[in-house]
Symmetry: C2
Subunit: 543 residues, 2 copies
């Protein structure tokens, strides 16, 4: 690893703008972004993927590897990634720092407390919670209805026991009310931080957060509790982007990690803007598959901020297509051209979807050791038929060497300058029309049904003046539909909207289909049980 | 402020042992302590105080100021302090970084997230909680009794609504059980971290934590859940001491902050040991007044570790003595020799108590602008009659200049080498005898009564083999008795033990008198409401 000062200097960041956290991590002072306002932006590339499968598609891996490869072919490139949450690290998923020769480092520190951003978000979230209950306890001047507080506490932990709780029991501890905890990445504070332009914008958004309703049924926002300034005090360091490096010394901004279901699922806007001033190309990723992650990246993050992405890279694997084509989970390492072909519909729909946003698409075929030449060739042929470029990526095994063809293809696409980004829908549509546009044009469905409470909530949102917000779909990532088992490219289906909630600070309406998990549980054998720490501080079993 | 590298270099810490967190804070690699094993220890001085009053005694202030003054008179001195908790910072108390010209800096960062230690402790605490409920949920192989889980979750927040809660409600979220949250500084993980010699010792102690009982009524410890290694992974950075500086550039280790009631209330052992290798004199403090803080420092921390303190500095103010002598809270700024004289009994008892531990005592009279010469003289005379040196300290107003007389007096006391430290009681005594020794010899009481459940619990602790542990008294800090309103030096009183709990990892039995608060609440107008953050990141209202 190079010193973080060296990485910063290579990226054009002077020492005065760097706040080191240990020797290999640093925060970047927002003064840098202000100083560079006059510099033209680099080109923004979104890395997204087909629907995720148990085999793993390698989206983060490809983002890191592609950034390394672009630098290797002489394109000054910076990557912008989300930061991991402790919950999955100790639960099931393991780390989120890439793999093989396409990793960001120091991987253990990034996967553990990193620079404390998630802890600061947890604190800000919970300060607001404590102030809500204290407000009621101390006389309830705002006449909050304890039964209609929608703001929940947060912890960065997988803890199903905290999903649904009763608080305030016992004498002098009130109010007694039903509540619960979210995992921190599902907190609206996380989404707010990731969509804010600066501290002022952060405070404005925090103030708009809906905390609940008063006894007359009117909405009450966080600014009414005088909590916003103190929350911003807790977040003033967390809002600064974090700089780390890849194994090949490519600069990477790792900052923010909102959930990809009930939030928009991409890293912070401030990090993206900073990266665009430092790199001629910025490679970033969005959560889940393209029908969720890319749609939200475009319709929420890019729309709100005015960012104009120049291209999308769609990560696909032979394994994922075979799985989408019906191959069994334990047979994905075997050549199976029939399943592969049946799964192509998934790839096709994602490609066509991305084109609807006006960005050119490049397919990155992330290569596994068990993939055969015939499988690679079949995917290439499919892409040729679709009229989109495709390259095999071997960045896991080979680092930048394994991604040069992909990098050249992307550089070529960017130089052609075909992009003419546009969001999918107009926000002036009513809320149901926005939902139906996404379901029909992106998911490929036929209709949307609404639970009575969801219909009522949508009508109420419009009545309260929130009808002009974009929608944030919360849906299973495994299928274009709202049924996780319906793989491939289903048609003629109906999506059922079960609930609706407002993230007024983040600036979107969350549309829930099915049961959306905001606080995961631990599995039978949590990853935590497999960890060990040596006397010298060496960790085993974390990654 | 000097760069933290400069402070470190002055203190004899090489750059390779320093892990910077920003430009003015750093963690110290434990390798430094190993490397310096052969170096003789400096002399350890405890700063403690008379019973706390609403006026504030300035114990932290005096510790910081004394360290500055000792350096100013040519004694190489390092201070070792506790780190603040976010709960009080946003609740009531404000920061914990000294004041006037005797402060540690950067004060805002120290009072906010600092280097993340409290967040790491929160995470480790709550990982264990999540693993307990998950164990029961996944089949409960250990046959844990859900009604007898004693381990609670923790947050670094004042939030009374979390004191008593029911968790695990709703389908698939079980087990349903009564539980609650502690503030992080009250977590046994905090006490364990502060008493551990190194990572191995930390793991051993974490493993010994009592989490609850099984259906047969047998105790179950954390090691049975395979949680210990992962908890240690979360704590591996938090166990490293933090280096900061005073306004005059004196090096200060700020590390760990266990509650002073249900825990032992002093900064970490690793920080003390490191400071003793770096300074010829180490000045450290303990929470609350001497009958609680000093007693635990000596009987728990020094006993467990083998540390041999060389002196105690007892902080007293004219205001505190007047308050203890019956003066009204709003009259403490007025000369009142009668009240002062009546309050002297409090000072006398603390002086005699400290002498029982075999350490020489120096009285530091912390000077307020409203104090009169006659008041200062009266305290000096009282100390002369007691045969202990006393000096007026003006470190708030004057920095090191204001504490030179105190520093010379301390240096003189240390050079005389009178100390012959001994704990108050032998741990081989039964638990009730230990409690009674403290109540009689330190508090000045006559007897102890026990609630039936406390008596049963003490008997059970002895039966389970924990009878050899020292006791950790949880008592109001405002009085020698268990009644906060009984000021001065009451006699003939009885202390009532209401409950007993086991901190087997920390290595003590907590003895509760009255209602011990482990999760504070917010006041009518929380400090959070008065805070403001400027666009440039400038904070108002934090300190």
């Amino acid at each position: 690893m190079k010193s973080i000062y060296e990485i910063a200097a290579d990226a054009g960041i002077r020492e005065e703008h760097l706040e080191p956290y240990g020797k290999y991590k640093a925060k970047i002072d927002p003064a840098l972004l202000e100083e560079l306002q006059g510099r033209p932006d680099g080109r923004l590339v979104l890395v997204t993927a087909v629907n995720p499968t148990p085999a793993g598609e390698g989206k983060t891996l490809t983002t890191i590897g592609l950034a390394q490869s672009l630098n290797a072919i002489g394109r000054r490139t910076v990557a912008a990634l989300r930061e991991p949450s402790l919950g999955p690290v100790f639960g099931m998923k393991g780390g989120a720092t890439g793999g093989g020769r396409a990793q960001i480092v120091p991987e253990e520190e990034i996967n553990l407390h990193f620079t404390g951003d998630l802890h600061a978000i947890t604190s800000a979230n919970n300060l607001l919670s404590a102030m809500i209950d204290n407000h009621i306890y101390q006389g309830n001047a705002l006449q909050l209805d304890p039964a209609r507080i929608v703001w929940k506490r947060a912890l960065d932990m997988n803890d199903r026991g905290l999903r649904s709780i009763v608080t305030g029991l016992g004498p002098g501890n009130g109010p007694v009310r039903e509540s619960g905890f979210l995992i921190t990445s599902a907190s609206e504070v996380m989404a707010v931080l990731c969509l804010s332009e600066n501290l002022e914008d952060l405070k404005r958004r925090l103030g708009q957060i809906l905390i609940g309703y008063d006894v007359k049924g009117l909405p009450v926002t966080a600014d009414k509790l005088k909590a916003v300034e103190a929350m911003a005090v807790l977040l003033k360091e967390a809002i600064k982007p974090n700089l780390v490096q890849t194994l090949e010394g490519t600069p990477v901004l790792v900052h923010g990690g909102p959930f990809a279901n009930i939030a928009h699922g991409c890293s912070s806007l401030i990090a993206t803007r900073t990266a665009l001033k430092l790199g001629d190309i910025v490679v970033t990723e969005a959560g889940f598959g393209a029908e969720l992650g890319a749609e939200k990246f475009f319709d929420i993050k890019c729309r709100q901020s005015g960012l104009k992405p120049s291209a999308a890279v769609l990560v696909v694997t032979a394994k994922a297509l075979k799985y989408n084509g019906g191959a069994a989970k334990d047979r994905l390492g075997t050549e199976d051209l029939d399943s592969l072909k049946r799964g192509m519909g998934n790839l096709r729909r994602h490609v066509r979807n991305l084109q609807k946003f006006g960005v050119p698409v490049l397919v990155a075929i992330n290569h596994f050791a068990t993939d055969t030449d015939a499988e690679m060739e079949a995917i290439r042929e499919e892409c040729a038929a679709l009229g989109v470029p495709a390259e095999v990526s071997k960045v896991f095994a080979l680092g930048s060497e394994g991604g040069k063809q992909l990098a050249y293809a992307l550089a070529g696409l960017l130089e052609e300058g075909q992009a003419d980004f546009r969001p999918l829908y107009d926000t002036s549509l009513d809320l149901k029309s926005k939902i139906e546009t996404i379901v029909k044009d992106i998911y490929g469905g036929e209709a949307v049904t609404y639970s009575p409470s969801a219909s009522r909530a949508l009508a109420q949102m419009e009545k309260l003046g929130y009808g002009g917000l974009p929608v944030c779909m919360a849906k299973t990532p495994y299928s274009f539909t709202d049924q996780p088992a319906l793989l491939g490219a289903p048609e003629g289906f109906t999506v059922s909207v079960s609930g609706v909630s407002l993230s007024a600070g983040a600036g979107f309406i969350v549309v829930e289909t099915g049961n959306t998990m905001r606080m995961p549980g631990l599995p039978k054998v949590p990853a935590a049980e497999r960890m060990a720490l040596g006397g010298d501080g060496q960790i085993e079993g974390l990654l």
